[in-house]
Structures are given as structure tokens and as C-alpha cells.
């Protein structure tokens, strides 16, 4: 497989996993805590809450996907290793991990009141695990360009990849 094909596949994978994470967060959130939270919210019924909650998961998911995409694009096209000291870039990856976590929790914290829905700790937990855990950490393990393939924490536990 040549490098261009690999790049296209990885970008597609980032997009697909991002969409998958949004769907998973929406499905799990709506089923685990949806009914309870819908009744707790003002002027809200379950279907209206779902509508707003989907907007919330979509915003958090896309922002996370953007973090994963930024890491991929930077590592693929902008970070160059022309000497031994230039390799790794884990601080950059970790900064994006923190950004991803901030986005996951921040969107839930700030955007939910704007949308007028209530959320609880389960939703925060779901967002952190699904978006940051799966949508950034796990995704970057499998999509990081090869020159930095062991940079994501724990990447060496996974076998050979594209």
C-alpha cells in the first residue's frame, strides 16, 4: 500500500470513528440517562431532549475528531525528523489529548446549558471515555503516521499497523 492510499484510508478512518463515537455517545447517553434527564430539564420532553442531546454529542464529537485530525495532519505533513532529537513529539500529542479532554468536558459543561438540557456525571463520563478515550487516544494509536507510530501512550501494546 502506498503512502497516499494509507493517508486517505487514515483520514477516512478518523472521520468514520468520529461519526461512530457520536453515534455511540448518543445511543448510550440517551438510553442510560436520557429519560431521567429529560424529565429533570425544564420544558423538555424526551424527544426534544434527544434532539438537543444529539446536537451536544455532535459538537463534542466533531471537536474531538478535529483534535485527532490535527494530530494526524501535523505528524503526516508538518512534523519533520531530520535529526535524532526531532523524533517523538509526545508533548504535542499529549497537549492534543488534554485539548480533547477539555473539549469533551467543556462542550458538555458549557454547551448543554445553552441548549437548555440537563446532563449528569454519567454523560460527562461517557463523553470522556468515548470521545477522548476512543475518539482521540485509541484512534490516534491506529492512525498516527508511521514516523510517530509509538508516540501515543500505550501504542507499543498494539501490533504492527498500516
Amino acid at each position: 500500500m502506498n503512502r497516499t492510499t494509507r493517508t486517505i484510508i487514515k483520514i477516512f478512518l478518523i472521520a468514520a470513528v468520529t461519526v461512530g463515537c457520536i453515534a455511540l455517545a448518543y445511543y448510550l447517553g440517551s438510553n442510560i440517562a436520557g429519560h431521567k434527564l429529560a424529565t429533570a430539564s425544564d420544558n423538555m420532553n424526551y424527544s426534544r431532549w434527544l434532539e438537543k442531546y444529539f446536537a451536544l454529542t455532535r459538537a463534542a464529537g466533531l471537536a474531538n475528531g478535529l483534535c485527532a485530525l490535527i494530530w494526524f495532519m501535523a505528524a503526516r505533513f508538518f512534523l519533520e525528523v531530520d535529526e535524532a532529537a526531532g523524533a517523538g513529539k509526545r508533548i504535542f500529542w499529549a497537549a492534543l489529548l488534554m485539548a480533547s479532554l477539555a473539549v469533551s468536558l467543556g462542550v458538555a459543561h458549557f454547551y448543554a446549558p445553552i441548549l437548555g438540557i440537563k446532563i449528569n456525571g454519567i454523560i460527562f463520563g461517557l463523553f470522556a471515555v468515548i470521545f477522548t478515550g476512543v475518539g482521540y487516544w485509541l484512534l490516534t494509536i491506529f492512525t498516527t503516521p508511521l514516523a510517530f507510530k509509538y508516540t501515543p501512550l500505550g501504542a507499543h501494546f498494539f501490533g504492527r499497523r498500516l
Binding site: V81, D82, A84, A87, L146, A147, Y150, T151
Partner: protein
């Protein structure tokens, strides 16, 4: 088929150094074994010492499992012992070696006393024949059969069913080479006369290409560069008038005599920088080995296109393989070696270097073979740098700007992509990236050799 290379004297040793490098780079034809022999009375001379180091490194590299389908390290070598063969022994003069005391006051002894001056007879020969081929010819003829064991070794190889191509290299203007080239060629031809159809002998006769100014030498017997041209004239006359003993003869010289840095009669201080003439002589050996065993004698001329400049168009070999090897060495020194050193010292994290995790985890990177390769990589770069420092004349095989810093450590890393002056996309980052891409080798390729093979392949355009 087996190849034999016999270096004679200091210049021969320097040709051997170039041959070792081009052999490691995979520039010799076929995958035949190369036997290396050296004849030098000055066993401690610095040139020979440097060459021996490169040779011993090469011998160690043969343990690397790089596979058989690569030019890298493809020719196996054997060092013919004794290495080097010292025809004079220790603290002996000509009288001792000729056993003059047996011939004192005999007609032969009196003739000998006429042919050799008192100084020539009395000077100890620890540092070679000191530019006096007449001394060397007598000693070599007397000692070759018993001392060198070369004939027996070649006979053994022929006995195993192999044909042998023997190549001799030495200067015609100094002492050991001028004496040894015709003498050794004749002795080998005579000794191996029964196998005439199984052997071929070639020779690189190196014409003057350097000069020196003696300092602090009082009334001592040593080679003088003002004698180089008359010596050469006499030698060439000999080769044109007498039977040419070589099946292929290569005359290689330079129109400019490059001054050597510091004069030394011999010994460890005789450590001259590499010169492009020696590279030509090594390529002559490669050309000889590539010819059929009994090819008709031919006369080929090669000269450079521009008076004060050498470039790849002047070299009788494709640049591609050599440049790939140079790129491999530079990439190793720049990108790999510092990491290995830091990892051994615990100053680096392995995750940063996917090639280390993929290839070298579990490999002992402090092992002598790996350390030898580190030294060799620096030595190759240093040799290349010397080759391109030709007394003001421009040599452009590898971009000279590459050598601004210490061997192979680049100040301007962008230069790497245009190593031979031709722009390419092969940056250090590209090499680093290629090292991490999936690949398939057969299972015999393993260990540090597998990594070197991968790096070498990654350095191809």
C-alpha cells in the same frame, strides 16, 4: 571464481583501503569471495594500520544477516595470513636477509658488493625498502616462497575447483611496490605455471601522484619525491621492454603531485590522506575482476573531462550504488548512531524511534559488531572527505559541502537530499519515514543486519 588482491607497499595499502570501501559498498562484480593479502616490510605503517582496521571491520560485518539479494556486504572476504607479510623480519638489513656471510669473498659476494652500496646493505629495513626497489627485488625474490605462503594458499583454492583472479597493486616509483609488482607477478606466474588456464593476473601500476618534503632527516636512506619521475621512467621502460607479466595492466597517475601533510620515513607516522588515484586503482581491480578469466589483452584509456575537476562522469563506474551507500552511511551517522548511543546510556526513549522498536528491540546494540559499525561509518565518511580534498582541485563525487562539519555530521541537513549534486526527495525525514513502513524480508535476514539492510534499502532513490 575467487578474487585475490595483493597490496604491495604503502601505496598498495592505500589502494586496499579504497578497495575495502568499494567492496563494502557492493561495487565489486558478482558475489565472489575476495582474499586480501598485503606485503609490506613496514608493518607498523599508519596507512596499513588504517586499512587493517577497515578490513577487520568488514570481516566482522559478514556476521550481519543482511540477505543475499543486496549489494551490501555481498562479497565475503578472507584475510590471507600472515597479514601483512613482512619479507624483512625485524631489525634486519640487506646483508642479513641475503645471508651475505655465506657469500663473503666469493664471486657472487663480490658482485653483490658492487651492485649495492654500503649504506643500502647496512640500513635496517623495518620501515620498508626506502624507495630503493633494487633492495626490495632481492629480498622479495629470496623470501617470497617460504615466507608469504601465498602460492600454497592459491593452489589450495584452485584445488577446490575454483579459478582465481589475482590483482596486484603498488607504486612503480617507490621502494616496495616498484620492487614487488614485477617480482611477485613473476614468482606467482612461475609457481602456478601448472594452473595457467585457471588463473589470471592483473596489476595496477601506480604512477607518481604525491610529493613530500623531508624534514629533520640527516643522511638517512629514504624515498625522495624528486626521484619519483626518474624511477617511474625506468620502471615503465622495464615494462615496455620486458615481457608484460600481467594479463591486464592498469597505469594510474596524476598530472599534479599532491603534497602529503607530514613527511615520515615510514612506521605509524606514515599516515597519508586518501587520494582519488587510489580510488581509480581500486576500481581498476573491480574492472579486472569483472572481465572473463582469459579475456584478450586490451588497452583502454580513461582520463578526466576537465583539467581541475573530477566528477562522476570521470569515474568508470555508475554513481548510483556508491551514492546510495554514501547516503546510507550519512543517514546512519546522522540519524541512527546518536540514538543508539543515547539508548545505551539510558538518555533516550525508545518510543521516539519506531525503527528501533521494530528492528532492534532485543538486539544487543552495545555488542562489538554494532560498535564496529559505528566506527566504520565514521571512517568511511572521513575517507570520502579526504578523497575530495585534493589540493585545491575540485572533486565532486559527493557534495563537498557535506564535509564542513566532522565526518558525516551535517550542519545544513538540507544538503542530504542532494548528496551527489542531483536534487532528490530523499531527505533525512524521508529516510526516517521509510524505516517505519511495512516491509517483507525472508526469515534469514535478522538482527542488526536486518536493520542495516532496511536502512540501505531506504536510501535508494
Amino acid at each position: 571464481m575467487s578474487y585475490y588482491f595483493i597490496s604491495i607497499g604503502g601505496t598498495g595499502a592505500k589502494v586496499m583501503e579504497s578497495l575495502t570501501h568499494i567492496c563494502i559498498a557492493g561495487l565489486l562484480p558478482e558475489n565472489e569471495r575476495l582474499y586480501i593479502a598485503a606485503i609490506d616490510p613496514d608493518v607498523g605503517n599508519g596507512n596499513l594500520e588504517r586499512t587493517s582496521t577497515a578490513l577487520n571491520n568488514f570481516a566482522a560485518f559478514q556476521n550481519f544477516s543482511v540477505g543475499n539479494d543486496t549489494p551490501l556486504f555481498k562479497n565475503k572476504i578472507s584475510i590471507a595470513r600472515p597479514f601483512p607479510w613482512n619479507p624483512t623480519g625485524h631489525d634486519k638489513n640487506l646483508d642479513d636477509l641475503i645471508e651475505f656471510y655465506h657469500h663473503n669473498n666469493t664471486p657472487v659476494g663480490k658482485l653483490y658488493e658492487i651492485l649495492y652500496t654500503k649504506k643500502e646493505r647496512d640500513t635496517t629495513l623495518n620501515e620498508g625498502f626506502r624507495g630503493h626497489p633494487s633492495i626490495g627485488a632481492a629480498v622479495l625474490a629470496k623470501k617470497f616462497d617460504d615466507g608469504s605462503k601465498l602460492t600454497a594458499q592459491i593452489e589450495k583454492i584452485i584445488g577446490e575447483g575454483e579459478n582465481v583472479k589475482i590483482f596486484l597493486a603498488g607504486s612503480v616509483f617507490g621502494g616496495t611496490g616498484a620492487a614487488g609488482l614485477p617480482t611477485i607477478a613473476r614468482l606467482l606466474k612461475n609457481n602456478l605455471a601448472d594452473y595457467a588456464d585457471r588463473i589470471s593476473i592483473g596489476g595496477a601500476l601506480i604512477l607518481p601522484y604525491f610529493s613530500f618534503t623531508p624534514t629533520n632527516i640527516k643522511d638517512e636512506l629514504f624515498a625522495r619525491s624528486e626521484n619519483f619521475l626518474p624511477n617511474t621512467k625506468a620502471a615503465l621502460k622495464y615494462y615496455s621492454e620486458k615481457e608484460n607479466l600481467f594479463d591486464a595492466t592498469y597505469f594510474i597517475g596524476d598530472s599534479v603531485m599532491t603534497p602529503v601533510g607530514e613527511f615520515s620515513v615510514g612506521s605509524a607516522n606514515q599516515r597519508n590522506e586518501a587520494h582519488i588515484v587510489e580510488l581509480y586503482a581500486a576500481l581498476a581491480a573491480a574492472d579486472f575482476y569483472s572481465r572473463p578469466l582469459h579475456a584478450p589483452k586490451i588497452f583502454k584509456y580513461i582520463c578526466r573531462h576537465e583539467h581541475d575537476k573530477f566528477s562522476w562522469s570521470d569515474i568508470p563506474v555508475s554513481s548510483e550504488r556508491f551514492v546510495q551507500f554514501a547516503r546510507f552511511i550519512f543517514a546512519y551517522v546522522q540519524l541512527i548512531k546518536p540514538v543508539l548511543i543515547d539508548l545505551v546510556a539510558g538518555d533516550a526513549k525508545a518510543y521516539k524511534y519506531p525503527w528501533f522498536v521494530d528492528f532492534l528491540k532485543g538486539v544487543d546494540i552495545g555488542a562489538p559488531d554494532v560498535v564496529n559499525f559505528n566506527f566504520y561509518a565514521e571512517a568511511f565518511a572521513a575517507w570520502l572527505k579526504q578523497l575530495e580534498t585534493l589540493n585545491g582541485r575540485e572533486v565532486f563525487l559527493i557534495n563537498p559541502a557535506m564535509f564542513e562539519a566532522n565526518p558525516a555530521r551535517l550542519v545544513d541537513k538540507k544538503l542530504f537530499a542532494a548528496l551527489d549534486g542531483t536534487k532528490s526527495k530523499l531527505t533525512f525525514h524521508e529516510i526516517f519515514y521509510r524505516l517505519t513502513e511495512p516491509f517483507k524480508f525472508d526469515s534469514t535476514i535478522k538482527g542488526f543486519g536486518k536493520f542495516l539492510r532496511r536502512l540501505y534499502d531506504a536510501c535508494a532513490i
